[in-house]
Symmetry: none
Subunit: 273 residues, 2 copies
DNA sequence: TTTGCGCGTGAACATCCTGTGACCGAGCCC
DNA sequence: GGGCTCGGTCACAGGATGTTCACGCGCAAA
């Protein structure tokens, strides 16, 4: 169960329903005008957008961690149907929208039966296509969230989205809901996150100027992480920027590979003294 | 006394949602030719199909427990947008396909933004519309956990979906229909379930903000579970998140020297030193 | 090295969440 | 009709959680 994905992972956090995270999208098409208009709209919506001029293998698509793929069957040629079928079967968590030129009913039926989520006929308005994409992704996320969320281990800490909790071995860190969400967000983003980003994605709305809530929660998190895993440090401060998650062994603990994680659940008083 | 009231349950209460094969569909339209062709195809596919000549209130839609609703905005008049919005918001588990006459891009965008899953322009081929419906429903169902229909035992509790009842040994817990459904849902999901999820799956529509029904039923469930199996706890609260089912023996019952499952936090502190 | 702002910390305070008992209306059976 | 069960709502209370504040340290720029 507990998949140890070691340390690095591209950003794909998606903190549940509070703040619908941005859509990660790839468009497989060669029409310059179409791409330009689409790119403009997608940018203004804050999509993570990636144009593709040629078909990408399944592995490539997997590593992109897309929410949706828009594809013009025309540039795939006769092998397009097979490609479509494979992609839909192999990546059920990704919405697939076919956006292509004039077609017959039979073709559209075939595409949808193979697993496509929608079929948009070119020429089409960019806004409409985007709405179709959003609708598909929206529906997609309803079920995807709990299922695909795998448990991950960082250093001595295991993050379990299904239980909304983090553990050291079998012992719960007793994180509160909000603490866990912040930890989850940080572990999912392999980069420095500004306070405003953290606040927006966890609280779901913009952070008021001067709000220190994130700092306070990071402090509580660090406290519980330290209590459970004293020899590691996990959340690093980037002065003037924000926070970054990265499990690192403390320097003053040389080479001990068999260190027991120390008792826990005594987060409060006695330990500190 | 320990006889369950099995006899019969209200039709839609339990069985309908569980059968993933058949789509429960309603079509709100008045075009006789369209309806006839569609009905023919739907029948041959084994859909549970229901034509509607006039808009049905939210309550009506709820009791139908539909997987999908096809609607022609034309017969709704100006209030159609509001109706569409309400239906989509209140029944997030139901796919909504707008199938209507010629429209502008703005109208289609509006419909999709309000929550519609697809927009099909009439005149359209029945086969294509059905594919669109299937695609929408397919996406909807992804991630819905398969509630197991087999008898299963957790701790001292035996859940029997076939009898719609739970037992401790041979003794019925006398759960009501709702209570059982919630228990069944919880036992089938091996993770924390948010109240909204529980409500949506059991009641069939979106939970109103501030609704405490789930809490109350969980309380009743706990009461009956405790009465039948006092030494165990089954439903655990995750503060700020939801509920999780997991049979655990109560620690404060030192009477029996049977094998303790040795739950968490019993690490020997000496190991750490 | 000094300075100024950013950040860590602890605690007080406000808020929200949840368990609980009581109540009420609808449906059902006698 | 009367009694019953069941589903659902309400208000209350206690506790867990989130937020704010003040203080002091530490980091980076000058």
């Amino acid at each position: 169960m507990s998949i140890d994905r070691s340390v690095t992972l591209p950003d794909a956090a998606g903190s549940a329903q509070r703040a619908p995270s941005r859509i990660r999208l790839a468009v497989l098409d060669r029409d310059p005008g179409f791409m330009q208009v689409l790119a403009k709209r997608l940018d203004s919506l804050g999509c993570e957008y990636r144009p593709l001029a040629a078909p990408v293998g399944l592995e490539g698509l997997v590593t992109m961690r897309l929410n949706a793929l828009v594809v013009d069957l025309a540039i795939l040629g006769p092998s397009g149907w097979g490609y479509l079928e494979q992609v839909c079967a192999r990546l059920p968590g990704m919405a697939v929208i076919v956006c292509t030129g004039p077609s017959s009913v039979a073709q559209r039926v075939r595409g949808l039966r193979l697993g496509a989520d929608a079929w948009v006929t070119k020429p089409c308005h960019a806004e409409e296509l985007i709405c179709v994409i959003e609708a598909a992704v929206r529906r997609h996320r309803r079920g995807e969230m709990p299922t695909l969320e795998a448990t991950a281990t960082f250093g001595e800490i295991t993050v379990r989205p299904d239980l909304h909790q983090a553990y050291v071995g079998p012992t719960s860190l007793e994180l509160t809901a909000r603490e866990f969400e912040i930890l989850h967000l940080l572990t999912g983003a392999d980069r420095v996150l500004r306070r405003e980003e953290i606040y927006e994605r966890v609280w779901g709305y913009a952070m008021a100027h001067g709000d220190r809530s994130v700092d306070v929660f990071v402090r509580k998190l660090r406290q519980k992480l330290r209590a459970g895993s004293p020899q590691w440090s996990y959340i690093h401060t980037h002065f003037g920027v924000g926070y970054r998650f990265a499990p690192e062994r403390e320097v003053d603990a040389p080479e001990l590979d068999l260190v027991e994680p120390a008792p826990l659940h005594m987060l409060d008083p006695a330990l500190a003294g």
